[in-house]
Symmetry: C2
Subunit: 789 residues, 2 copies
């Protein structure tokens, strides 16, 4: 892949002109070579200004043969980490403060703002409540169905063991599992492919400001919930925790908008919140509520949201997010306690509970010092995972077949391991184990391997943490780890809804406990349960690299703050060592999708770059009073598909054209739809004035330009953009360094940043892709290619 | 005070011209009426431009008689919440990206940045370690001295009780306490007045971007630590937790700079971090480490830092802050465990530990429902506190005398209460109570009131939380609450180093337990310990209003996440009800000092205002190549004392003057000191080029302009600012709304924001004071007066 990395020679190519503005997905799906987009100049009565230096040729000359070749066949490399896709739109996390918006805000009284604030709290409470309920629903359904499955298989085994025909039991088991998985896979593959996986990378992108199509729709939620239930019951090596984060996000997006576009119901409430900024805030609350319900970690949830979308920290918002998290974990706790018929205990704060650890400085230090040993191994795992995860099967039928195959193999492998295992453990006197199979063990004993496979992974993790030394046979543990590891790798990337948290925890815990047992033979003062905890943390940290929030989540899940420091050190080590080889799983995901994701800061060595080099130019500008035909032509131009247009005005008898605003494609489309033309306003005096409500009603699914009919007469009309454009867009001079542009962009959640010269003339436009292009590679600063796919 | 609130009539006064730029404290201390500063126009060969509309008269015309009067006697109202002081400088949390800085960054390799990152981590570890050690030192010294004091008094009582002369014991007690308090008060009043109180408002201001003189000096730290020890041992109603936050901040500021100006030692390390942005980051880590050491709450510490200075959220930074917190609590835990001779236990994560609470849904719900009852009472307390706190004694001798008086009264009251109390409790069989006095109790019993007064407040809080129902006599508890409440009120605001956390917790816990006991009589299912917890949370929340971070701190201190929701609900209720009457204690403090503190967001109803109304104008601008005499004159002008100067350049044959940069007073002073004049550079070719190092060496104590000698010849020289000015200052157009300006200012941590017109000409400057002036009062948006004091 290195052959398509273009080395950047800054001094020789100061005039690089990139893509102009942002683009929507091409409707015809055809490929446009990158440099061809720069030569399309439009003309029309001075209406459009193309400002900028025409250096389009420079780029082509510097390309090597390989580069040209690789650009010529982009369909063969649809997912490539050296490309940046132009198909993703950005979200607008900066309020569009146009005249309409300001008028509305000014009309609003102080009480009005108070009411808005109260509704925000109500929405957050609702989000927390519903997310908690969804978590309960998943948990209870999984438990009930798993119980039925266990009973059927147990009966079958008991019947057939005597007849010596265990293969029939195996087939029954495999068929049961496969049928669950098939249902889940069909749902995902055919109805909503975005619901595959945990959804965490998608939520990360959303909070970062990238619009992933259909990611917060109701249909996605339904498919996700059913899919998770199917894949967990189907016995795949997956968890139900990760998807909760996505589910919380969808709930939040739905509740906060007060309507469902899918169900075509508009409750006419919360209309004020129908814009990207507000919706983003609620989605981050939803994600936090999801984390909170999954791990019983409300603070961890808040930190997760902050870690992923933190350009917008704000005291009140954070407090609301925390509130949603609290409500969510409390709802789950209460409902599950009632379900388990112990309503007073409140002992289920999350879907997974690690149980309480008591602190002991001896183990504590050994944990730290031996964690490095554990880590070496974890890293190998992590690396292999990363390699194995990179699989892409794209046809839905094949996806379903693959999932079925994985389910069948999982069942077969599990069964084989149980069959050949002779690790018999005595039955506990109080019969606490729910899923026990005697198989070939003596009376009063049960097969511990069978328990490990029949148990939910959550219970296995807890028992690895807490069971007395001696409970597990090292060989069983080793075999289990290895098998489960390969199964988890294979399972990941299937078209099923499933999380990677629990498999990682389980593999790490098993591996860690194994290390603990081996050390236990040398010295008697090591508690293998604590090694399991450290191993689980290292494994999970090596895979997701979430660092801060993960530390807090794990500390909250263990309920002992003393473990904070060792867990943090382990996570740090695993991140540092892991980063040396490969990025985290979610980042790999995002990169493979070529999403223009903005990290926290500009690359360290990017002070060489200035806005002049980074920006896209020439820029398509509009006049303050513009001809309708011109606007339609610009919007219809599928080769550019710009989303933001600087509005300019002529001063000093027309020889200088200065910036006076910025308008978005979506706004122009609403204006065209309502035919807000100067001539019509004059002739039809009764025509109602366009309100902010009209924009809100169209949000977020603005119609494409093709669906709007403009007659030949109307094309000659003029449109006055004054009221609708944002009259005070943020601007930077050309000499501004990239880190400074980046900071402004990230801190304010911008979508477009206008670059102006000394006299306030538009010379370029910086969009998300222009910044995301630069990243720190092995050989210093690298520039990614832009691709239309 | 309402008479000096000027109602703002926006429509009639669009031209209000405020103070230009920012001002340093007036050296002569004389009072300059606000409007007189605007008419001083300087001339000199076209060197200075006064751009803007001359509307200075408008203000005066609208002032009522009272307003003029109140402006005429500012010395009589030195502390007034309707004024905004101009004496506070701002900190520069936006990097000054001038030519020197960019050159340095560009020269630095990727490895260089890695090394910087590693040193940041090392510094954070050091900060955590030292903060933890300071906490240990305070704790151990207090314990040892208190033990000596107790033994002396106990012996004395035992000797004299038989002789019937308890009054001698009283005198001994009072004298002992007073002498400790006198030492503490003398240290604070005569050596470092800024070390008074908890220091939390000061750290809040620092993180917000206001420079409070001497707040992070070594001397302050020494005085603070000694002062805290003295006041706690002196038996005042104070805690040692609050000051830890300030101490942590000072440690951080010291360690991160790699030198001590007070000790005149420069270790020549960490020179890169000698600027406001980096220092602020470390101070926030120090504050977090302080919280962490005080309460054993590392996550709470991180959230405290975020809550107070969160315009700068960044993943790596937050993780470093968390690391410092972890190290801090671990150091404290480890050292204290070794000190208590139980090195393996690690049971002291913080200076105060609440002990473990077990969750139980019954109490849980009652807590919630009854917390509102508790709150009503808390609020009264809170209100009274606020009134009582507003005391200001300014002469050091009087301050020491007052502190002594309080100490004597505290001792007398305590003694009286012990004397008249007949609440005898049986001695515990295992003799766990350290401080027991038999007094008039039967053998085998001890006086519980005496224990309450001799114990450290931390232990009293814990025993209120955890002791069995029936341990406390309601009458004792009621008396204790009332007495302690009045003592705490009186003590607060004394010139001693002391925190308000513990007294609040103690009062709240006593009051809550009292409610619990009363309810216990009606129903038997209420655990008074839990009421104590809820009461403590409500009381503390009502006083400090820290909300989010406080919830996490309390949850971490109780070690049970199930208490999160009730604690949060209680804190929310107490904040909502409290805000209705009065702001939080720290905010009252900040307001009384007239600090220009920027809150999270612009007031909700401020969309009416635009940059045009908010900005200061006219602005004193400098030419890119400026005459030295002019610069000296501008800097010497004590009536304006601007701190930031836009740099302009003439284009188009001199008829348009456009913005090309921004330069700070401190930079100009360094330039003058090193005589960086164009003529000298030409004549002395060997003169070394000014480096960034020269600015760093002068940081943060730049000499005043008066100390720099410029000869008459040199006055005629020219200075070239091109290399030193920030060539890309952030700008906004005049029509930008206040919320938008505010967001930009807050998100980027700006100090100056240049307002330009359509053609990039400077029309105004927005500084911190211009934004902090507007606040939401009872009657809508109010505007504060600016005052030189």
């Amino acid at each position: 892949m290195a052959n398509i990395t273009k080395k950047v020679s800054w001094s020789s190519r100061p005039d690089e002109t990139g893509a102009t503005g942002e683009t929507t997905p091409l409707l015809n799906g055809s490929e446009q070579p990158r440099h061809s987009r720069q030569v399309e100049l439009m003309s029309g009565e001075g209406a459009i200004f193309h400002i900028g230096r025409h250096g389009a040729g420079d780029l082509e000359e510097e390309m090597t043969t390989e580069e040209v070749k690789s650009e010529g066949r982009p369909k063969e490399i649809p997912h490539n980490e050296k490309l940046l896709s132009l198909k993703f739109e950005s979200l607008d996390y900066d309020n569009i403060e146009n005249q309409l918006f300001l008028d509305e805000e000014r009309r609003m009284s102080y009480m009005g703002f108070r009411c808005l604030e109260i509704s925000r709290w109500v929405i957050c409470a609702l989000i927390g409540f519903l997310t908690g309920l969804i978590a309960c629903f998943i948990d209870i359904v999984v438990e009930q169905v798993a119980k039925v499955k266990y009973n059927v298989i147990k009966e079958n085994i008991e019947t057939f063991t005597e007849a010596g025909g265990l293969s029939i039991s195996l087939i029954l088991w495999a068929v049961l599992n496969c049928s669950f998985v098939i249902v889940g896979a069909i749902l995902v593959a055919f109805f909503e492919p975005i619901a595959a996986g945990s959804g965490i990378p998608q939520i990360k992108c959303y909070l970062n400001g990238v619009k992933i199509p259909r990611v917060v729709r109701l249909k996605t939620l339904v498919v996700k919930v059913c899919g998770v239930i199917c894949s967990v019951v189907g016995g795949l090596a997956v968890g139900k925790e990760g998807p909760m984060i996505h589910s919380g996000g969808v709930v939040a997006a739905g509740v906060s908008q007060g309507r469902s576009t899918s169900l075509k119901r508009d409750f006419k409430i919360f209309e004020y919140f129908r814009r990207d900024t507000e919706k983003r805030d609620f989605v981050s609350a939803g994600a936090a509520a999801g984390v909170s319900a999954a791990f019983g970690a409300p603070v961890g949830g808040v930190l997760f949201s902050l870690e992923e979308g933190a350009s917008f920290w704000n005291q009140m918002l954070t407090w609301r997010i925390f509130f949603a998290s609290m409500i969510s974990t409390f709802t789950l706790n209460f409902v599950l306690s009632v379900y388990h018929k112990k309503p007073g205990e409140l002992s289920n704060p999350g879907l997974i509970n690690f149980g309480r650890f008591e602190s002991d400085v001896g183990d504590f230090f050994t944990s730290i010092f031996h964690s490095s040993t554990v880590l070496q191994a974890e890293l190998l795992l992590c690396l292999m995972s990363a390699v194995l995860f990179c699989r892409y099967v794209h046809r839905p039928c094949l996806q379903v077949m693959e999932a079925t195959l994985v389910a069948a193999v999982t069942a077969a492998v599990s069964f084989t391991m149980i069959y050949f295992s002779n690790d018999c453990q005595p039955l506990a006197p109080d019969n606490t184990e729910v899923y026990q199979l005697q198989l070939f063990c003596a009376d009063g004993e049960y097969n511990s391997m069978a328990t490990a496979f029949f148990n939910t992974p959550e219970k296995s993790v807890t028992s690895l943490f807490h069971d007395q030394p001696g409970t597990y046979n090292p060989l069983t543990l080793g075999l289990f780890t290895l098998t489960y590891f390969f199964l988890a790798c294979w399972t990941y990337g299937l078209a099923v809804s499933a999380g990677v948290f629990i498999p990682s925890l389980l593999i790490g815990a098993a591996w860690g406990r194994l290390c603990g047992i081996l050390l236990f033979w040398c010295s008697t003062w090591a508690d293998p349960g604590k090694y399991a905890l450290i191993g689980a943390a290292a494994q999970l940290g090596g895979i997701v690299r979430m660092t801060l929030s993960l530390t807090v989540i794990l500390v909250e899940a263990t309920g002992n703050v003393t473990y904070g420091l060792p867990i943090m050190l382990v996570l740090m080590t695993s991140k540092i060592v892991g980063d040396y080889f490969q990025e985290g799983l979610y980042d790999i995901h995002i990169k493979l999708q070529s999403v223009p994701f903005l990290h926290w800061e500009a690359p360290a060595t990017s002070h060489w770059l200035t806005a002049r080099e980074v920006m896209s130019s020439p820029v398509t500008c509009l006049n303050k009073i513009e001809k309708v035909g011109t606007i339609v032509d610009i919007l219809s131009n599928t080769s550019t598909n710009h989303n933001g247009f600087p509005v300019v005005v002529q001063v000093m008898e027309g020889d200088v054209v200065i910036l006076c605003g910025l308008i978005l494609r979506s706004q122009l489309i609403v204006l065209l739809k309502h035919k807000v033309f100067v001539e019509l306003a004059r002739s039809r005096l009764t025509q109602r004035k366009l309100l902010l409500k009209d924009f809100r009603d169209a949000y977020p699914r603005f119609p494409p330009i093709q669906s709007i009919h403009v007659s030949q007469d109307e094309r000659e009309c003029m449109m006055d953009l004054t009221e609708f454009m944002n009259p005070t867009p943020y601007t930077v001079p050309q000499e501004t360094s990239l880190p400074r542009v980046f900071k402004l962009f990230r801190a304010l959640g911008l979508r477009h940043l206008v670059v102006v010269d000394d006299e306030n003339r538009v010379v370029g436009l910086v969009s998300r892709k222009d910044l995301a292009r630069y990243h720190l590679g092995k050989h210093g600063l690298e520039e990614l290619h832009l691709a239309q796919t």
